[in-house]
């Protein structure tokens, strides 16, 4: 093992949404930062445009990592059967690996959570078998950091249209995208139902911003890297800022293995494998884990020692529990005219009235139309279920209807289950010999009820918009996680039921923080990245002020 000379004050593991923000803020605040990322550069050249191997349709592979050297074990909650999976297989719960993490190839819907998303337990009560809890902080604590993220990352939207939220302190830095033809149709439907609509805020430039050009409205946005660098994530904002400060070293191909502690259990630093497979040990005053909700839990659980036999931060058996993501009930509507105008990125019209206050169910979701879907995704996921899977009729259907179908869908706020969890597999290791994650359990049944309710609302909306045929798959009980993974190191005042405190510091370890979606107590009825970034700004400020 080599000992890296340690000029660093802070080590950040993972250069994704949260880790990138924390590295940038700390480096600019004068800290010397080491940013470790297991992946590499995610741009058009490295991620390409293979319609069958990408982060949107991973039929045979992914384009934004990780590689096959990162297996996981998945346990089917129904049969108890355990299988070892590659990152592109169903059940793996992949997001991405590389500079920017998910934000390099994401869709960039930039939603704030709703004030009640932070108070789920006191709003609805805790259903039997659920670990539902309130956040230790509220919307008001995060609002200034949401605004900072919107400005520094670059979000296009209309603040005055966000009728479900308290008034914004400042407008979005860019105007929203124009309403698409599909959006016009959906708006007519919503009007007929008396539902107010919103243009979804997107972290994509609608005008030159941050030194990057305006979006060219291409058809390969979600799941792919932007061809002109107008999609904003941590890879083209806070990480370059960290590097420009001269105080941040970014090491790619660096696979963090475990946290190192002294006899008393104090965090000393991190051990990682560098790109040549050499094990390196590095020290710092503060460590921030931001590997995403599944890998961060793995790092804590793998950091066993005599002082911490169950891993670090896991004295109360909380690390890895409450794994959440988003059920995404989807209704597809077939219309009698072309709906798609050929322009990206896609989501043009949202409805937020079903986030809360729905009779008979807990929570809810935002509903919206979707990003541009490739022809093969339309074939695999959006075709009429009554269509034969081969022959002239199938071909004719695609030719006639590719531009006539549209989806309405939404990220359902999940009701957490303590049994939906990340543990360490006792047998399987990765190519560095590090024990891999074992995913098991399922969400709480209330999630399925809410998702079913939301599917019905999506169907209702498409019907009012004039769809001639509508279909969708009824949700059923399963383990969530995936691209919206969260919850495995949740915040809380009480160490018995949480992993970090209200500043995302691991209970009992004043120099160890969690900087990614792991800390979400619940995951909101909205896409999560802006909340992850807002929390990361807040955590970085806390570190700056205390170290």
């Amino acid at each position: 093992m080599t000992d890296r000379p340690t000029p660093y004050e802070v080590i950040v593991v993972g250069a994704g949404a949260g880790g990138g923000v924390i590295a940038g803020v700390l480096a600019e605040a004068g800290k010397r930062v080491l940013l470790l990322e297991r992946g590499g550069t995610l741009d058009l050249a490295t991620t390409k445009r293979d319609h069958l191997r990408n982060q949107r349709l991973s039929a045979y592979g992914v384009n934004a990592g990780p590689s096959g050297s990162h297996p996981r074990v998945f346990v089917d909650w129904k049969t108890g059967e355990a299988r070892t999976l590659a990152p592109w297989e169903d059940g793996y719960s992949n997001n991405a690996a590389g500079i920017g993490g998910g934000t390099a190839v994401y869709g960039a819907q930039a939603w704030r959570f709703h004030p009640l998303d932070f108070r789920m337990a006191s709003t609805y009560g805790v259903p039997d078998g659920s670990s539902l809890a309130d956040w230790p902080i509220g919307y008001g604590d995060l609002a200034p950091f949401y605004q900072r993220a919107e400005r520094e990352i670059g979000v296009a939207g209309d603040a005055s249209a966000m009728i479900h939220l308290p008034p914004y302190e400042a407008p979005y830095p860019m105007a929203p995208f124009p309403v698409s033809r599909q959006g016009e149709t959906l708006r007519r439907g919503a009007d007929a139902l008396g539902w107010a609509t919103i243009t979804p805020p997107l972290a994509v430039n609608t005008e030159p911003y941050g030194g990057r050009p305006a979006c060219i409205r291409c058809q390969h946005c979600i799941g792919f890297a932007c061809p002109v660098d107008s999609k904003n994530g941590s890879h083209n904002t806070l990480i370059p800022r960290a590097l420009a400060s001269g105080r941040c070293d970014l090491v790619v191909g660096a696979m963090a293995e475990r946290l190192e502690t002294d006899q008393a259990g104090r965090i000393l630093g991190v051990t990682f494998f560098d790109a040549d497979g050499q094990r390196v040990s590095v020290r710092a005053e503060v460590v921030v884990l931001a590997g995403g909700a599944i890998e961060t839990a793995r790092l804590l659980l793998n950091s066993r020692s005599p002082a911490h036999p169950g891993g670090i931060g896991n004295g109360n058996d909380q690390v890895g529990r409450n794994l959440q993501g988003h059920y995404y009930p989807t209704a597809v509507g077939l219309f009698s005219d072309d709906l798609w105008d050929g322009l990206g990125p896609g989501p043009s019209t949202a409805v937020t009235r079903f986030g809360h206050g729905n009779e008979g169910v807990i929570g809810g979701a935002m509903l919206a139309d979707d990003f541009v879907q490739t022809p093969i995704i339309t074939w695999k996921r959006r075709r009429d279920p009554d269509l034969p899977f081969w022959g002239a009729e199938a071909k004719e259907w695609m030719r006639r209807n590719y531009r006539r179908v549209t989806d309405v869908k939404g990220p359902v706020q999940e009701i957490p289950s303590p049994d939906a969890r990340v543990t360490i597999d006792p047998l399987v290791t990765d190519r560095w010999g590090i024990p891999v994650v074992r995913l098991s359990g399922a969400t709480h049944p209330e999630t399925v009820r809410t998702a079913t309710f939301m599917l019905d609302r999506a169907v209702e909306w498409l019907g009012a918009a004039g769809a001639v045929k509508i279909w969708g798959t009824p949700p059923s009980l399963a383990l969530s996680g995936g691209q919206h993974q969260a919850g495995t190191c949740r915040m809380g005042e009480e160490p018995k039921t949480s992993v970090t405190d209200r500043f995302c510091r691991v209970h009992g370890h004043d120099n160890l923080y969690v900087g990614d979606g792991s800390v979400h107590v619940t995951n909101g009825g909205f896409n999560p990245f802006l909340t992850i970034m807002a929390l990361a700004y807040r955590t970085a400020d806390h570190i700056t002020n205390h170290w």
Binding site: D50, L52, C218, T374, P375, W390, K395
Partner: protein, 138 residues
């Protein structure tokens, strides 16, 4: 075209080179693909529209369909034993319909997979994108 003409054409096309399928099996596969995605006046069928090229390329080592490399030849030989490639389209459809509804679940599953591979090859081939209305502008 006679079978021998098709065969000689296939062996000339580099896109049709295969270490997994023999020329005769490729002729049969082409015929199958043209029933899964039939050619018509507006657009190519499976054999010339990208599905054949995709399947042959991806049956090779490291390809998307490599796990299927031992089943394809067996399936195609069985069809060819009944002279599939020379049948009229309607009779070919009947034979494939028999596969779709076969009492043998493995046969049903394989036919479903093969049809899906054909659609993957066809709809990921840029030549077919504007035909459905997916125009790439940037």
């Amino acid at each position: 075209m006679s079978d021998s003409e098709v065969l000689s054409q296939i062996s000339k096309q580099s896109s049709s080179r295969s270490t997994v399928l023999a020329p005769q099996q490729i002729v049969c596969l082409s015929a199958v693909l043209d029933r899964i995605i039939p050619p018509d006046s507006e657009s190519a069928g499976g054999s010339t529209g990208g599905a054949l090229t995709y399947i042959l390329r991806h049956l090779e080592e490291g390809g998307n369909l490599a796990p299927f490399r031992s089943v394809y030849p067996v399936f195609l030989d069985a069809l060819e034993a009944d002279g599939f490639a020379a049948l009229l389209p309607a009779d070919q459809d009947k034979m494939l319909g028999g596969q779709e509804r076969s009492p043998d679940p493995a046969a049903r599953r394989f036919f479903r997979s093969l049809a899906e591979h054909a659609q993957e090859g066809y709809y990921t081939s840029p030549a077919n994108w504007s035909g459905v209305g997916f125009e790439v502008t940037g």
